[in-house]
Symmetry: C2
Subunit: 407 residues, 2 copies
């Protein structure tokens, strides 16, 4: 008897989470001998609990499935919803009753470590209750902090965006190169510095910026930073500093918290500026040099202009592989990436136990952080460079990208 | 006798100011029968006064001239240097003596209205002192606020960036579409709202955001804004608001100034947040809804990923036309764009008196601003849409754009 497939997206959006979705849906539809309908849950498991389910096969007919590949964000919508730790909670039988009503045999969840927690719980509940539903996780996060996988879909396109705009910011900052200036660029990453590290991919022989790069994996010391910045300014007029939003001191206090109790606006709200804004003010005060700060903001996770072809292909393949593995009998697994060679760059897609992945974080290795916490080693470049290769032609309409929108 | 040509760049960088430079240099080099060397002044007229001059012909040989076309920023460096109003000031004979020493017969300056002021003064001084140097201006500004020209190179690529990333921000914001949220996007434009208006090019049938758009050409009233926002939130969950950095109230006070005297950081500095940050706090306080603000920052003026082919071609052509006009005897002119048809879109390049351009600003017409100051009419779309057409393949190297750097 045919079983149906359902897929959902969870957590923050990326540029290729819809690439993974495309992979699952197109592979699911290709196996019409064993898979009946392919469903999407709207707003993840939270929406599924409210019966927000759509059929995906119409997307193949109306052309939206192809557009989905290059549409950033989360086509199905997302949620941040943690299932209860207690597998005896009433939500579980409720969920599995809904699975049964919908004839679901295959459950796919695309997300980060919180989402893998959902996969873990559902697969453990299924095992404990003799359900034959196969529950699979597909990795996704711009933070690249998932364990047991070489890297994570979404990271490389975000890294390519960071490296590309850094090259442009470096050029923009050098326009008045006859005057000293500092530019502080704040990059996503509360606990993991992978994306910030990607800024070094913007370096060229002609311009070695960003000269200073600070990740949350090492403690940020303000006097040391000022000294390192002074040294850099002694050598060149325009210094670009890249920082993770999550840089913190040795007490674990986020740098951005240092001014949180200072300014209050007209409404009595704390003026929560970011770490970049804080360092801008610090540099202005202490060094008296021209300084500005730039927050890359959500653009770094949702840009289609800098899609990495490598990243997009891998996202699609992870989705396809997930379906194939589930059809082969796997459950409770996440599709992980194992790098088999750097020259040429090759990877394998392998199933790993989702319980070994969920709720854990993988940071940039300590030995890759150099120059007293202000730089990363060439090991990082060797690791990251293959991932950002290849451009993607995004369909255009009226001069802007043409995306797929849920009707 | 052959005369030499010199070209400089001034004011803020754009994505295509090097396209104009490419046009001047390649056309200049093509007229080797009458033009000797083609020089570039480094950091504009200010650098020229310090003898910072480079020969441009080597760029043709080493391949950098082709790269220049798609390199954002200002290859030659820029300056913000205003020549004295008094044409009897000693700087003028000093400048013209240097022109003579360098054998300069043709002077080109690429910039906005301040730069056209330089062209005006030099051409008037030349006329008053029987110098046969031909002094020409080439338009450039992302603000699109130059008079006597349909539009200005640099605007369209910035507009394409704004419309593209707005589409992506709209998608990013709709990921949690089951909850009410407001996103305030702050866009460049202190006095002219052209770039902010370009945000409406992101609208689609599937998502009509940005629902509210505020330009500095009309007064911004905070209670009216809150009412308009509440109306929008009553209709849809995710509302995107686009504002120019220069929005101000009916007294002329910039909205961002409303919190400038509130917060002071650890160093006693005023916490100058932008208008977007201010409105974020206002909405949080008054409507209690989830809200974030995004400042597009320098990325909008230096992005190569969203280059408009139309813009780049026009920038190159304006440079070429400038050289041809100067060879034909023109001086004291700016190369302006005259639109001759919308369907198909066609323009002519025409010389206009630089004295009628300099130091003036052209805003978005009042009749194009609709819905009580919160929208723009279809007239703007008819105007702007042809300008953002066409993608440009930017050469890539190691996964990021390959740019030309001054050695």
């Amino acid at each position: 008897m045919k079983k149906n497939l359902i897929v959902g997206q969870s957590g923050g959006p990326t540029a290729v989470i819809n690439g993974s979705l495309y992979g699952v849906v197109s592979e699911g539809l290709a196996h019409s001998d064993v898979i009946g309908e392919v469903y999407g849950m709207v707003n993840g498991i939270e929406g599924f609990l409210n019966d927000q389910v759509i059929a995906m096969s119409p997307l193949k007919e109306n052309g939206d499935l192809e557009l989905l590949r290059t549409t950033p964000g989360a086509y199905l919508g997302s949620c941040r919803f943690k299932l209860p730790e207690d597998l005896n909670d009433e939500v579980y039988p409720k969920l599995f009753k809904k699975f049964e009503e919908k004839g679901i045999g295959y459950f796919f969840y695309i997300g980060g470590n919180d989402s893998m927690d959902t996969v873990s719980k559902l697969s453990r509940y299924a095992a404990a209750h003799d359900s034959d539903i196969r529950v699979m996780g597909l990795p996704k996060t711009v933070d690249n902090d998932l364990c047991l996988t070489d890297h994570t879909p979404g990271f490389a396109s975000a890294a390519r965006f960071v490296a590309t705009v850094l090259k442009e910011i470096i050029i923009d900052a050098s326009v008045y190169d006859n005057k000293k200036s500092v530019t502080v660029v704040e990059i996503m990453g509360r606990h993991a510095g992978w994306l910030t590290a990607a800024s070094v991919l913007a370096r060229t022989d002609a311009n070695p910026n960003p000269l200073l790069v600070y990740l949350p994996e090492s403690n940020f010391d303000q006097p040391t930073f000022l000294k390192q910045l002074q040294n850099a300014l002694a050598k060149t007029n325009n210094v670009i500093v890249c920082i993770s939003e999550g840089i913190h001191d040795d007490k674990g206090t986020f740098i951005c918290e240092y001014d949180s109790n200072v300014g209050v606006d007209n409404f009595g709200h704390k003026m929560l500026a970011g770490s970049g804004k804080y360092l801008e003010n610090l540099v202005k005060k202490e060094l008296g040099v021209k300084v500005r700060s730039i927050e890359l903001n959500v653009l770094q996770r949702c840009s289609s202009s800098c899609l990495s072809a490598t990243d997009l292909n891998e996202a699609v393949n992870s989705g396809r592989t997930g379906v194939q593995l589930a059809l082969g009998g796997e459950t409770g697994k996440m599709v992980a990436f194992r790098r088999t060679s750097n020259h040429p760059y090759t990877i394998e897609y392998v199933p790993v136990d989702v319980n070994d992945v969920c709720n854990l974080e993988k940071g940039v290795p300590a030995e890759w952080i150099t120059d007293n916490g202000s730089n990363v080693s060439d090991d990082f470049i060797t690791y990251a460079l293959p991932l950002i290769q290849g451009s993607v032609d995004v369909p255009q309409e009226n001069g802007t990208p043409k995306f797929a929108y849920r009707k």
